[in-house]
Amino acid sequence: MNAGKRNFLERKGLFLYLGGGALLTLVLIFIVTPIISLFLRITPEEFLSSLSSPVVWNALTLSLITASLSTLVIILIGTPVAWINARHRYPGREIVDTLIDLPLVLPPTVAGLALLMAFGRMGLIGNFFYQFGISIAFTTLAVLIAQVFVSLPFYIRQARASFEQLDTMYENAARTLGSTAVPTFVTIILPLVKTGLIAGAIMSFARALGEFGATIMFAGNFQGRTQTMPLAIYTAMQGDLIASITLSVILILISFIVIALVKLKLKGDA
């Protein structure tokens, strides 16, 4: 294949090199320029002094805590669900699969309104809890619910794909040797698909960290309680632009680390 490609390139010569190079360059400029522009609008001193402001600090800690917790919930719920859908045929499996993917394509504002209609105190589920004096909307729990709702499919898709790629001979061998289902899953299967699951979890974490639309509609905007980094960036942009840029720079750095981790993990998997 490599030889064929080389021949093709040699024939078409310089023209193709320039065309490919131009395309790469444009894509690079398009992606890198806005990011660099953010870094250029803030001095290191401004960044550091802004870092200690309560808005930035509260948003950063709240975001890291909620995104970590929601990722944990996603792993606990998503792993068995992905396994079931990868290995077991049951009537309606395709429908279940499609529904799980729905939040992927749903606009986040729609997700936010839908969550409010379900978990708000006038909502289908929220009203039940409200009878016992429990409010869900506009609490940190609501932030968590919104994050799980939008990022669960990222994990389940990746996990299911990992399980499907795994040859059934491993579990069959374990079972013939007398191991029961749960120990087989934990001691044999999970270690084999570990890298794929971690990659999925990292993607979910990144999506949860960036969640905005559903959160602001369903959890509201309150510093220290529901104002995550994206909400703080949006709010601060209308008052304290430096705080807004500081948070954006932090999010970019985190996102960059996340992508790097996923690439490394997937490389290790291959």
């Binding site: 190079g21 131009a22 790469l24 400029i29 409010l116 708000g120 909307a137 905007n221 209308q238 008052g239």
Partner: protein
């Protein structure tokens, strides 16, 4: 060989980047593109208006279009602080209608407004609203400090949130309420919204027990969805709405005519109909 291909590709990329950068630096020597007149002789007037003006300015824009055939009024409603940021960052607007003087003055001080055009055109007051079902049993301003009340106000930057804080500070300085009242009320805030319309929505949905909004947010259409608790004049804040022409406007005559219409009898009649007061 593969390595060689990659290097060649990268070199081409770098070369092109250099060319593009060079192209960019020589770019500005060309005269800036002049606005081309539209094929149809239709003028667009872009009005940036505070979210609290959503209903009234939509109607006024419609009336204005009927009176001035060939003019299309394009509106953009958001919190005044958000509109100010948009104008600062280069968004095109002909007219800016702000819900407080602070954001208008900020634009004026940056040289982004036609100074002579700025003037108050309407006033507003604030009120407390609860859902019609009044789930938290709020009947007085004092009740807002009851533990567990779910209160929604604006952020400190949106005018309605700024005014709400001013009112609470006034009440804190009054012996009947005191600083502990202000603290208790602020502790009850469950969300800070960036527009007054979002505050109204949360109360109307019944998700908030109370909200601090403008009197003009209570319209004949939605009046039966709320309970209203008036804020006495000695604590209330008079919200002053200035109008002005944006410096970069390409339709200053039309913009000026629009602002004149806001201040004319028919314009004022519409404003009053929506619960605003005259300056």
């Amino acid at each position: 060989m593969k390595f060689l291909n990659l290097t060649a590709l990268l070199m081409a990329a770098v070369l092109l980047a250099a060319l593009i950068v060079a192209g960019c630096t020589t770019g500005p020597s060309q005269p800036a593109a002049t606005p081309t007149p539209t094929a149809v002789q239709q003028k667009e007037l872009t009005v940036f208006a505070a979210a609290s003006l959503t209903g009234v300015v939509t109607e006024i824009a419609h009336d204005y279009e009927l009176l001035h055939p060939g003019v299309k009024v394009v509106t953009n409603f958001d919190g005044s602080q958000a509109l100010r940021t948009q104008i600062e960052q280069g968004a095109y607007a002909d007219v800016f209608l702000s819900a407080n003087t602070k954001h208008m003055n900020a634009l004026r001080d940056k040289g982004l407004m036609e100074n002579a055009s700025i003037g108050l055109f309407v006033k507003n007051k604030l009120a407390v609203i609860t859902p019609a079902s009044n789930p938290a049993n709020i009947h007085t301003l004092q009740n807002l400090s009851n533990p567990g009340v779910r209160l929604v106000i604006g952020t400190k930057d949106v005018p309605v949130g700024d005014y709400a804080r001013q009112i609470l500070t006034k009440m804190a300085n009054d012996t009947a309420y005191g600083p502990s009242y202000q603290q208790a009320v602020l502790k009850n805030v469950i969300s800070e919204e960036t527009t007054v319309t979002a505050v109204v929505a949360k109360v109307q949905l019944g998700e908030a027990d109370a909200g601090i909004v403008y009197e003009s947010d209570i319209t004949p259409e939605n009046r039966n969805k709320f309970m209203i608790i008036a804020i006495p004049d000695k604590f209330n804040v008079i919200a002053e709405y200035p109008a002005g022409i944006v410096k970069d406007s390409r339709n200053k005559d039309e913009a000026s005519r629009f602002i004149d219409y806001l201040k004319s009898d028919p314009g004022r009649a519409t404003l009053v109909k929506f619960g605003f007061a005259m300056p």
